[in-house]
């Protein structure tokens, strides 16, 4: 650092505090002797010295430093109480080349925002955090902070902080130091000149880390709050020395920035053609199959029901996909949530030419029942004249409905004969095609590679066979 021939208000500060309301745009809002002002000056000086005022973004918290944005000649965001690290996270992600400073008090950082600071630290976000520990809520008039000392009197601990009921003063540096990602964790103090100079060095180190994209730096600064402590400034410095240092020992707990590689962030792809390419627009074709005008069904409201693991959902999705390729409107609605945990699953599939209204099939014209409970539950809601396919492999009782067309198909058995129970969903697709006449099995075959995109050829072929078997079984037994 070059020798300075003059020490004056650093350029990191705005010349005239234009964001500050009222007449006094030449001075801060801080109380006499407040540590915030000292730390602000050290930060502003570093920004000037490193020539990064332009590329710095300061996050102002809620607390006495809520108005930090009055002063710093940088980009500024004022944010909700405790959330500075969360906001700083996305600011840093959005502007990876900028220097992001998150500035917080002890209530803000260690109480309401306790998790946010831990998580940002744990992610190793590229930012430098200045944590002003003044053992009190300054802004709201001197209430207890998480860092308030044992026995310390505040407006909400009028009898002194009782660790049995209020807990112990939180040592944030020590907590942050438990995490793997942070590169620099240090605690300094403003209680005398040597320590102010050490704080200056720490400030510069943290800011340098952010410039070099080293990740997360955490600088805790023990700081005077003469107003909250109800004492003069010089005695306040003395008070830090006598009372705060024993609980908050000054030291650098970690400094691994040298050996840490720079954080790298990808460049977003925004080019429309490339976006379409990545989304695979080319592979998505318009429907090119023609509907069968002689189909037995012109619209289907189907329930597929059974145990979880019987391919209930995938049968429904496959049917909807095939229907879409024929140019039908389709919808697929799963039963979701706790219902599924019970081991039963069902879905509604609609395939029709008109616009689809309700997607749940409350009055299906077709049911595929894969197990006994499903048959019992849904048999009664099929509309008269509808169709019922039931899985004779697992259901040994006859359906009771006489006003629907019943197809007894050993769905699981057919799949097992093919050597893989999992293909039962495609056996169902084949059976559906045969019952409705809406789909042609060889046309379904032409869709197999897109339905099973990314699956090995063997799997595709097996499922193709399953469709064929399901189709043929119905054709042979119920024509």
């Amino acid at each position: 650092m070059a020798h300075k021939t003059v020490l004056r208000k650093p350029k990191g500060f705005i010349d005239v505090y234009k964001h500050k309301p009222g007449a006094e745009k030449d001075r801060t809002h801080y109380c006499p002797g407040c540590g915030h002002g000292i730390l602000h000056k050290l930060i502003a000086e570093a920004l000037e010295d490193f020539d990064i005022v332009d590329k710095t973004i300061v996050i102002s918290p809620v607390g006495c430093s809520v108005f930090a944005y009055y002063y710093f000649h940088t980009g500024n965001l004022q944010v909700p109480h405790g959330r500075a690290p969360a906001v700083a996270t996305s600011v840093s992600r959005a502007n990876p080349d900028s220097v992001v400073i998150s500035y917080q008090g002890d209530g803000d950082l260690a109480a309401i925002g306790g998790n946010n600071i831990l998580q940002a630290a744990n992610r190793g976000e590229n930012m430098v955090v200045f944590f002003v520990n003044n053992a009190i809520y300054g802004m709201t008039g001197g209430q207890m902070a998480p860092t308030t000392l044992e026995g310390q009197i505040t407006t909400t601990t009028p009898y002194g902080r009782n660790v049995k009921t209020d807990g112990y003063p939180l040592q944030m540096c020590e907590i942050i130091n438990q995490l793997t990602a942070p590169v620099y964790v240090t605690r300094t103090s403003l209680h005398d000149m040597p320590n102010i100079r050490k704080t200056r060095a720490a400030v510069r180190k943290g800011i340098k880390n952010a410039m070099d994209k080293k990740g997360f730096s955490f600088i805790e600064v023990l700081s005077m709050c003469p107003s909250g402590w109800k004492m003069d400034s010089v005695p306040a410095q003395e008070w830090i020395k006598e009372n705060m240092l024993p609980r908050f020992p000054l030291s650098t707990l970690r400094d691994i920035s040298e050996d840490t590689p720079a954080v790298e962030r990808p460049v977003p792809v925004m080019d429309p053609d490339e976006v379409k390419n990545i989304l695979g627009y080319g592979a998505l074709s318009d429907s090119n199959l023609t509907k069968n005008p002689d189909a037995a069904f012109e619209k289907v409201a189907l329930r597929v029901a059974g145990f979880g693991g019987q391919g209930i959902m995938s049968a429904g999705i496959a049917l909807a996909n095939v229907g879409m390729e024929y140019g039908y409107n389709v919808s697929w609605l799963p039963s979701y949530g706790p219902e599924m945990r019970g081991g039963t699953a069902n879905c509604s599939v609609k395939i029709q030419s008109e616009t689809i209204g309700a997607s749940e099939c409350t009055e299906p014209n077709m049911l595929i029942a894969m197990n006994q409970p499903s048959l019992e539950k849904f048999e009664k809601i099929i509309v008269p004249g509808g169709a019922l396919i039931y899985n004779t492999t697992l259901i040994d009782r006859e359906p009771t409905r006489k006003d629907v067309k019943v197809y007894a198909v050993p769905i699981t058995g057919i799949a097992d004969d093919l050597g893989d129970t999992r293909v039962q969903s495609m056996v169902n697709v084949g059976a559906f095609a045969a019952v409705t006449g809406m789909f042609d099995p060889s046309e379904i075959e032409s869709l197999m590679s897109s339905l099973f995109e990314g699956k090995p050829e063997k799997v595709v072929k097996l499922n193709e066979k399953a469709v064929r078997k399901g189709y043929e079984y119905v054709k042979e037994n119920f024509s």
Partner: protein, 350 residues
């Protein structure tokens, strides 16, 4: 147009990608989790940011930061998560930050259940956080609209520098339909006037503090003016078989899908039922609803999956010219078309 079968929740994320959304910050919750899941799969493919936040509170504040930096940014959640986001949404509105929030409503209050409900209506449409503000609320009823209205939400959010919601329920989020994928947005709006980029000419301030009472009142009046313009320009409704309708069912989201079926069913039975479906909930189609009595409508039935939150707004719009009846289901129950038809017959003797 290329079509792809996908869940509504996925379609919202496709819409976001196509709208040039650069980052997603969210916390998982059923039935909105597929939004986070599909974003986690898709965003990195584009070098865009996906981050699973530590909470909804963190997520909305990350949204605040990204929006403040001029990005199009998305988050998604459901009831309990939206409750947690409210402080941050208020800050976004107060700082005039555009962002998009998808709410896939579930059953409440409390932990309720994960079945479909529409009980976040008040907390979303009325600007559920503290202070005087409103958010733009779009209510899709299909996977296609999840994509299209998410894109529109980004556009409107930017146009008015205001948070925009995509509000729907578990049915629309979980349902798969064919989605025609639109063309990606080619040009993003210029935000250099106010966004913070960490450069010399973007030394802007993102802030919602106005210490001076008159300044804050002025700001609130500006916001009111903005909302009035939105109310004037952005109302969207869908009508179905309204030309000769004597009875009108009003509903949004998955209810409107059931109403559509009910209208067809009623017509088969000779009942002249029509549907009016708000696509925007703020701005609310008050004028459109107020005109119903003049269009020869004899009965209005509001149909919702909440405890009368929507019917309150319908009746406010009707200004006493008529009073809408309410038929509602809750707890995750979705009414059937038959149920609505029967309700119509019972109420209006048709």
């Amino acid at each position: 147009m290329p079509r792809k079968l996908m869940k509504g929740n996925y379609a919202a994320v496709y819409g976001a990608i196509l709208a040039g959304c650069k980052s997603y910050y969210g916390y998982p919750i059923t039935p909105a989790s597929e939004i986070a899941e599909s974003a986690s799969a898709l965003f990195p493919k584009f070098g865009r940011t996906f981050l699973q936040a530590e909470s909804e509170v963190a997520a909305i504040n990350m949204v605040y930061g990204a929006a403040g930096c001029g990005q199009r940014v998305l988050t998604g959640s459901s009831g309990p998560g939206i409750s947690l986001k409210q402080e941050g949404i208020s800050y976004c509105a107060g700082s005039a930050l555009p962002c998009v929030i998808v709410d896939i409503m579930r059953g409440g209050p409390g932990l309720g259940n994960i079945g479909p409900e529409q009980s976040d209506y008040n907390q979303v449409v009325k600007g559920g956080g503290h202070g005087n503000y409103k958010v733009i609320v779009l209510a899709p009823n299909s996977a296609q609209e999840m994509c299209d209205l998410t894109m529109l939400a980004f556009e409107l959010a930017d146009k008015y520098r205001n948070p925009a919601f995509v509000l729907t329920d578990g049915v629309i989020g979980q349902m798969m339909e064919a989605v025609e994928l639109p063309e990606p947005v080619t040009e993003l709006p210029d935000k250099s006037e106010w966004a913070v980029y960490g450069t010399a000419d973007s030394r802007h301030l993102i802030n919602s503090i106005y210490l001076d009472h008159d300044d804050l009142e002025r700001w609130n009046r500006e916001l009111m003016k903005k909302y009035a313009i939105i109310q004037k320009n952005e109302v969207r409704v869908e009508e179905y078989r309204m030309d000769d309708a004597e009875i009108v069912a009003i509903g949004y989201g998955s209810c409107s899908r059931v109403i559509r079926s009910a209208v067809d069913l009623a017509r088969e039975r000779g009942i002249k039922l029509g549907m009016l479906r708000p696509i925007t909930l703020f701005p609310f189609p008050a004028t459109e609803i107020a005109s119903l009595p003049d269009r020869g409508v004899k009965g209005i039935l509001t149909f919702e999956m909440s405890d009368g939150q929507l019917v309150d707004d319908v009746n406010l719009a009707l200004k006493g010219k008529m009073i809408s009846d309410l038929h509602n289901r809750m707890g995750g129950n979705v009414p059937s078309a038959q149920e609505i038809c029967e309700k119509v017959s019972e109420l209006y003797g048709v």
